[in-house]
């Protein structure tokens, strides 16, 4: 079993597990670890950064963990004062609270003995940091922006569009896989050809069409154009081709109507492929960006992606809110992924095989 061939390229070939670990195993592990770092790393960094205050965000070089400037309550002052580490003229280094700064001079006091004031050049002081999670970034978003509304819009579009997509695509796939009618192949090619059309090409005319249909500023204006996915038809058709025709013939002999055959036999049998399509559809609709941007202009109809994009392009770029919003926007997809990861990867694999 242990190959006598040189270690070389053995790892390129799928093999049964080798009892001892050799350098190709280490190479593979290294590659996988690098993969994890590259795939997860930036997202983790984003999440950590989303908990930083604006001041901490504009710091360079950035700290790994969120730090905020320490502040301390000093008797005689209503608000807590920021704490700095100060190099005094006599050479000693002390932690003092800043009263105010004018020009290049800072006036500081000892929090414990606030009567004595120190006047120091701003160059000689640096802020004292402590670990602080700026949860305010998240909570303030809900207050500032109608977050609940955006969330609802995204959820509505995603769920409804997915249901319709599953139905329409399954029907089309059924027709294209189990029926022989003149023009069938042409129709299939037609549907697949739309894969090549970048949405931007038909953006303006599409806007015209949707507007004439009275669907502007309606969530349905986002749903209807999106449900006839060619990829979905392709996927389902591939799967349905493997459903034995005998089942259908038998049902026909039992006098079942075509719709019944579709609904009671085909759909249940195609469940794995339907599940894969459902997951894809959820992902596509949740992440839809350019088209909703065109159709929806009333802010109460915005989806999460629109809201996110809107704030990234704003005149005022407030990264702390932007980061928090980004995290929230990718959270549902991440959760779906975490729980359904097996199904997703298995589903694509099986669809790919067939």
């Amino acid at each position: 079993m242990a190959s006598t061939a040189p270690g070389g390229l053995r790892w390129l070939v799928a093999r049964r597990g080798v009892a001892r670990a050799d350098w190709t195993d280490w190479l593979s592990w290294g590659y996988l670890l690098l993969g994890v770092l590259l795939m997860f790393g930036p997202v983790v960094w984003l999440v950590l950064s989303s908990f930083k205050t604006p001041a901490a965000l504009s710091e360079f070089p950035p700290r790994l963990l969120p730090y905020g400037q320490k502040s301390v309550a000093v008797t005689g002052h209503a608000d807590p004062l920021p704490v700095y580490r100060v190099k005094l003229p006599d050479g000693s280094v002390r932690e003092l609270a800043e009263l105010h700064r004018v020009g290049i001079q800072s006036t500081l006091v000892d929090p414990v003995a606030p009567e004595r004031e120190y006047k120091v050049n701003i160059r000689d002081r640096e802020p004292v940091r402590e670990l602080a999670f700026a949860v305010g970034n998240y909570t303030e978003i809900f207050g500032k922006f109608s977050f609940g509304t955006y969330l609802w819009n995204s959820v509505f579009i995603t769920v409804v569009a997915t249901l319709i997509t599953l139905l329409f695509n399954a029907m089309a796939a059924f027709a294209l896989s189990k029926y022989r009618f003149k023009g069938r192949d042409a129709v299939f090619l037609l549907i697949i050809s739309t894969l090549m059309i970048p949405p931007t090409i038909i953006l303006v005319p599409n806007f015209l069409v949707v507007s004439e249909l009275g669907l502007l500023n309606s969530l349905w204006g986002v749903i209807w154009p999106a449900v006839a996915t060619p990829t979905g038809v392709f996927l389902l058709r591939q799967y349905m081709l493997t459903i034995p025709d005998e089942l259908i013939d038998a049902a026909r002999m039992d006098n079942a109507s075509e719709w019944r055959i579709f609904w009671r036999i085909i759909l249940p049998l195609a469940a794995p492929a339907l599940a894969v399509l459902a997951i894809f559809s959820v992902m596509w609709r949740w992440n839809d960006f350019l088209w909703p941007l065109i159709v929806l202009s009333r802010s109460e109809k915005f989806t999460l992606q629109l809201a996110l994009n809107a704030f990234q392009g704003e005149l005022t770029t407030q990264w702390h809110y932007l980061l928090a919003m980004t995290v929230i926007t990718l959270l549902p997809v991440t959760l779906v992924f975490a729980f359904l990861q097996r199904h997703i990867t298995a589903g694509i694999a099986s669809a790919g095989i067939k």
Partner: protein, 314 residues
């Protein structure tokens, strides 16, 4: 239903099933393409085609007005040609690298080891993120004051303008695009690898075939259909790249990362005075290119499938 069945005949019922899909596609894809033609042959800045003056092929003439087709700066619509060259460069480089890395990843993920499912998920995760999120995640890392430069600074090097240098910006656009899409293609190739019957490898081993031989004579040919699928899909997508690049670099610096779809978007939407006609003309040129590409690929697929059948029988 039964009455309908009898009237139409069972085979033609297929039309009814496929009808809703076709209706949607017709309304929201084919009709707009027809309207696109209306835009391409008219001028002015009005939205309604009815109000636009007929200009015939002038938009196309403008697009193709070049002194030297290989040098965009001699062209009247220099940005159009720059974006075409950029798109071509991008498609070749990105797809090539992505297929390579997808293959390597698929081979590695195919090994028997602990946590295989987890690692598969890891590679697939970025595929689920929206383009806006992808772009923002990397923008945050690649900023002048981002974590990448911080790591460089701690190693003693000076910070680099990752997104403000033309060469680096292009590199990162390719990198981020691969990062965001590789997982999908890896899984397709992985499925293909798993479909290769074990006994082929065992037989080869008994014949003392070298690992490279096994790879080039068994793995590669049997994987070829999947590789072609990955190549086709990858190319089609690469030519249409827009969302994540637009958010990441906006086409900059200058127009170093401006691709054809951004040119269309900018001409038709982003300017205050929208040149719908020009945008539509450019769109049609792009659509034609994609059509040609796909037909060529389909040819290759058919041929490779035939080859596979042959190698199977052998």
């Amino acid at each position: 239903m039964r009455a309908l069945q009898r009237a139409v005949g069972v085979p033609r019922i297929g039309w009814l099933f496929v009808a809703p899909n076709l209706l949607i596609l017709g309304l929201f894809t084919f009709l707009p393409i027809v309207i696109d033609f209306a835009y391409a042959f008219t001028g002015g800045a009005e939205l309604y085609p009815g109000r636009r003056p007929w200009v015939g092929g002038e938009n196309f003439a403008t697009l193709f007005d070049c002194g030297n087709y290989l040098d965009p700066s001699t062209c009247r619509k220099d940005l159009f040609w720059r974006s075409i060259f950029n798109t071509g460069k991008f498609a070749l480089v990105q797809v090539g690298l992505m297929v390579l890395f997808s293959l390597i990843s698929a081979l590695v993920l195919n090994r028997r080891m602990a946590g295989r499912g987890f690692f598969r998920g890891v590679f697939f995760y970025p595929v689920l993120l929206s383009p806006v999120v992808v772009a923002l995640v990397w923008k945050w890392v690649l900023q002048r004051e981002g974590v990448l430069n911080a790591l460089l600074a701690s190693a003693g090097a000076s910070p680099v303008g990752w997104l403000t240098d033309a060469g680096w910006a292009f590199f990162w656009v390719v990198f981020v695009s691969i990062w965001a899409h590789m997982g999908f293609y890896t899984l397709i190739l992985l499925a293909g690898l798993q479909a290769i019957p074990r006994d082929l490898y065992e037989a080869a081993e008994m014949d003392s075939a070298s690992p490279w031989r096994r790879f080039s004579r068994i793995t590669l040919p049997l994987l070829m259909p999947n590789l072609i699928v990955v190549l086709v899909l990858g190319l089609i997508r690469a030519v249409q790249v827009f969302d994540e690049v637009f958010v990441l670099t906006g086409g900059g610096p200058g127009s170093a990362t401006m691709f054809i779809v951004q040119f269309i978007y900018q001409t038709g939407f982003a300017e205050s005075i929208r040149l719908y006609g020009l945008a539509a003309a450019a769109s049609l040129v792009l659509a034609l290119t994609l059509l040609v590409l796909t037909l060529v690929q389909l040819r290759l697929t058919r041929r490779s499938l035939d080859n596979r059948a042959v190698s199977r029988d052998a």
